[in-house]
């Protein structure tokens, strides 16, 4: 049964009414039929169909849902769709560019960082934003900027991989 691999098939709810919001995600425009107070996380996952962005807490504590909004790392469970309209949203699926993985993704693979991997989309997005603003972060910078929860406890490898990516 091959149904589980239909990742590109986004749900089509357009028969339920007019689209109420236009979102720009990974360079593409999406009309989504959601209430304006819907968290961006759920519009991304359920309406646009990009599931790399994860639900972990819904209260902006854990960071599993981190995306870039106009280049800034934000916890998408705490951003309303109405606040995201007109902004450039990047999810983990849109981080790689021109067919090459982002240097953070490459460092993650080279350092064998993920364990279960569930938090890593958000972790990678948070780190990518950090390195954009601060290309050579110190350990203290990392401690201050990266506050994502990882229950498997990959922090040792996360730190090593951040430094590795910074030195590319």
């Amino acid at each position: 049964m091959d149904w589980t691999n239909q990742k590109s098939q986004s749900m089509d709810w357009t028969n339920q009414g007019n689209a109420m919001a236009n979102l720009t995600v990974n360079g593409k425009s999406f009309d989504v039929d959601v209430e304006p107070d819907t968290p961006l996380l759920w519009a991304i996952r359920e309406n646009i169909g990009l599931t790399g962005t994860k639900y972990g807490c819904g209260i902006a504590q854990c960071g599993a849902c981190t995306v870039h909004v106009d280049g800034v790392a934000m916890r998408s469970c705490g951003v309303l769709v109405s606040e995201a309209v007109g902004k450039k949203i990047t999810t983990i699926e849109g981080l790689a560019g021109n067919g090459a993985l982002h240097k953070v993704q490459q460092a993650w693979i080279a350092n064998d960082v993920p364990q279960c991997g569930y938090c890593q989309s958000g972790m990678i997005m948070a780190v990518a934003a950090l390195l954009k603003d601060n290309p050579k972060p110190t350990d203290q910078d990392i401690d201050d900027a990266i506050t994502n929860i990882c229950r498997c406890g990959t922090f040792k490898q996360v730190r090593e991989a951040i430094h590795a990516a910074a030195n590319v």
Binding site: N47, G49, K54, C57, L95
Partner: protein, 726 residues
């Protein structure tokens, strides 16, 4: 209310326990014979463990679940070692429990807990690889019309040594699949391993960095609807009534369904709509007697278990501890406790079900595919050949996903909407408040010394909850829960590392209504804190160095001693610590492995602890992938120290008070100590690696805190004593 163990308690066998029954009643489709068994893409199975595709791709079947611990990669290494295949061409796949039942459990046990994934299956998976290698060689030999004994295999290439002719696994796979499997298979001597023992990279990393990896929460089926659920917040309580019309009037809502007699679910187009409607819907509960229970009432009941007049199960005893304590020159006493803790897997519980009336398919992350399968049969009422479970990579397990409650719920909902796929997802709040909690216990420790400061007796009176009583009552031994004594037993895979002339360790079993579960490390978590912190107290009372004091009691426990010595040496126990830094040490045994830890901490304002460094050692017998073992050690410390500092679930009005990560915190990178691992496999036995080390971080840090402050911390979590990370 609270239950004491009763001899004639009805054995309510669920989950893993039901698997046996489910399988016994399962299908018996004949396999084998002249036809080749084929994988989904048509490639031939050499045997159940190995499929070789024409382009030499090697597909290794993995029955155990991958939840981050690296078992998938380790098991593949074990098969590949004997298969002599090209590691760069290895991929893996999960067989389904339904397929396994249909093939007379050809893949054996699916359960992935107790750090068993590799240690209990290594022999038969290696045999699977070796058998396949012999069949591939035989096929090549047949084609060349030469004796198989003249051929060798390496890197997926078969060579006829005398002639130098070669072929590849991909070319002979079709013929190999028809070769009669050898009856005698000799496994390699561990000293000849080339791939096993190497810290190769995980096989499942790339998709975890791009968002492509599919977890249960990501499943999409055509026409699928989403369900949000709320169970009675008081465990054991019932659903009384709910305002269905209120939910039905909200956007996207398709149906409101009862789930058993204790929960209600809203089904909607999106999960966000389902959750929003569920939260808006008034629900009345019949909370029952359990609503009177609080953390204080549980603590009081547990304290009563210290009374010797209360019945208790003896876990380990030698000499006469009570008599020795009575005539001690000096006596030391202390009471410790360990709380309820939620697993808080990053991916909340979920399962997707398509029930059509005559078939039921489930997609979910599970630590035990067969238990999830058995739960599916039971909840759907359908036979084994009409059901299957399609396992997904787990967004964390830690023991929680060995339970099948979420599978049963999802099937119960889907049954009320035949033909429509339903994805049930728990909110974080539902997940936090309906866990299978680390069991709650207290302990009264007593040590006795003679006039020369020799330890003459040690008494541990544990009072509290049994996991097996609730989850696997059939595993109780005359009412006793042997798992309670993890790391305290006289012998076996979780044996105590000390010899004391008079020893008594017993357990007054008290089972509050809060459901317990297996939580990474399980009972070694509290037992290591109890024993190793108290050993520190005893050393202090005797005026001796904590390491020297332990060593004297460990003369006949060389493997326990070896890991302890290893961490002592690496942390520089004999040399002074840096200015303002203090050290603590601990050792324990669990899951067949010997583990030890030494911590360096500094303390400010007596309540802010900076854990600078932890040195850890483990002897798991064999180390299949040392790089992944190091990651398990460091990761287990995050889970264990999170439990020590933050991990307490408190009970008020019969329910768990904490609801999300704002009140049930988890360590961040800033709080992560440097971890230095010593992986020192001594061979001859197979121990686990996912759990054992977790238990030494806590006591090592607590003992270092004492060294820094002169104060003992005997209650977990530290959060509740206003102590936190610096």
């Amino acid at each position: 209310m609270n239950h004491m163990p009763a001899l004639n308690r009805r054995a309510f066998v669920i989950g893993t326990a039901a698997v046996g029954t489910g399988l016994a009643l399962g299908l018996d489709i004949p396999f084998g014979g002249p036809t080749v068994v084929r994988a989904a893409d048509g490639s031939p199975e050499i045997n159940a463990w190995v499929v070789i595709q024409p382009d030499d791709t090697v597909v290794i079947r993995i029955a155990r679940s991958e939840m981050g611990q690296g078992t998938l990669t380790g098991l593949a290494q074990l098969v590949a070692e004997e298969l002599e295949c090209d590691w760069s061409k290895v991929t893996t796949e999960y067989p389904t429990p339904g397929q396994s039942v249909a093939r007379k459990r050809v893949w054996g046990d699916f359960s992935t807990g107790g750090s068993r994934g590799i240690r209990t299956s290594n022999e038969y998976v290696r045999k699977g690889g070796a058998t396949a290698r012999m069949m591939l060689i035989q096929a090549a030999a047949n084609e060349w019309k030469v004796p198989a004994s003249e051929c060798t295999a390496a890197n997926s290439i078969i060579t006829h040594t005398p002639s130098g002719r070669t072929t590849t696994y991909g070319k002979v796979a079709e013929a190999a699949a028809k070769v009669e499997p050898p009856t005698e298979v000799k496994l390699k001597d561990p000293k000849d391993w080339k791939l096993v023992g190497k810290g190769v990279k995980r096989l499942d990393t790339a998709d975890k960095t791009t968002g492509k990896m599919t977890y249960g929460i990501d499943i999409k089926l055509p026409g699928m609807l989403n369900a949000a659920i709320k169970a009675c917040p008081v465990f054991g309580g019932k659903l009384k009534s709910y305002d269905e019309a209120k939910a039905m009037g909200m956007k996207g809502v398709k149906k409101v369904v009862k789930v058993g007699d204790y929960a209600v679910a809203v089904v909607a187009d999106t999960w966000w709509h389902a959750k929003t409607a569920l939260e808006a819907m008034p629900i009345a509960w019949d909370e029952g007697e359990n609503a009177k229970v609080s953390s204080a009432s549980i603590a009081k009941w547990l304290e009563e278990g210290f009374d010797d007049s209360q019945p208790a199960f003896v876990g380990n005893e030698n000499g006469d501890a009570k008599a020795a304590i009575a005539k001690a020159a000096k006596k030391v006493e202390a009471v410790y406790n360990y709380p309820y803790q939620n697993h808080a897997t990053m991916e909340p519980m979920n399962a997707t079900v398509l029930y059509t009336g005559d078939r039921c398919d489930v997609w979910c992350g599970t630590q035990n595919g067969e238990a999830a399968f058995a739960a599916t049969l039971e909840a759907s009422g359908l036979p084994a050949d009409k059901c299957d479970v399609h396992k997904q990579i787990l967004g964390g397990g830690f023991g929680r996903r060995g339970q099948t409650d979420y599978v049963r719920q999802a099937v119960a909902i889907a049954k009320q909407m035949p033909g429509t796929p339903i994805k049930l997802l728990w909110s974080r709040e539902e997940d936090m408040q309906h866990g299978a909690y680390h069991p709650i216990t207290q302990v009264k420790m007593t040590g006795a010394f003679d006039a020369d400061n020799n330890l003459t007796a040690l008494r541990m009176r544990i009072s509290g909850q049994s996991i097996l009583f609730s989850l696997r009552p059939e595993a109780l031994v005359n009412g006793k829960d042997p798992a309670t004594f993890a790391g305290l037993n006289a012998t076996g895979e979780a044996a105590i590392g000390y010899s004391v002339p008079n020893l008594l360790i017993d357990h007054s079993m008290r089972n509050p209504h809060v459901p317990p579960g297996f939580w990474r490390g399980v009972n070694v978590n509290q037992n290591a804190i109890y024993l190793e912190c108290f050993m520190d107290e005893l050393a202090h009372a005797a005026g001796q160095d904590p390491l020297a004091f332990r060593r004297k009691l460990m003369a006949t426990h060389p493997k326990h001693l070896a890991v302890l010595n290893a961490v002592a040496e690496k942390i520089g126990w004999d040399k002074p610590a840096p200015q303002g830094v203090f050290r603590g040490i601990a050792q324990h045994m669990g899951y067949g492995s010997y583990v030890a830890g030494a911590a360096e901490v500094s303390v400010t304002d007596s309540n802010k602890i900076k854990v600078h460094r932890i040195v850890a050692a483990t002897d798991p017998g064999y180390a299949v992938n040392p790089a992944q073992i190091e990651r398990q050690i460091a990761g287990s410390f995050v889970y264990g120290l999170t439990g020590l500092f933050y991990g307490g679930c408190t009970v008020k009005d019969g329910r768990i008070e904490q609801a999300n990560f704002d009140t049930y915190n988890s360590m961040r990178i800033a709080e992560m100590p440097k971890v230095e691992s010593i992986v020192m496999p001594s061979g001859g036995f197979w121990g686990g690696v996912g759990e054992p080390t977790i238990c030494v971080a806590g006591p090592a840090v607590l003992n270092a805190y004492f060294a820094a402050t002169g104060k003992r911390l005997r209650s977990v979590p530290l959060r509740d004593q206003n102590i936190t990370f610096a």
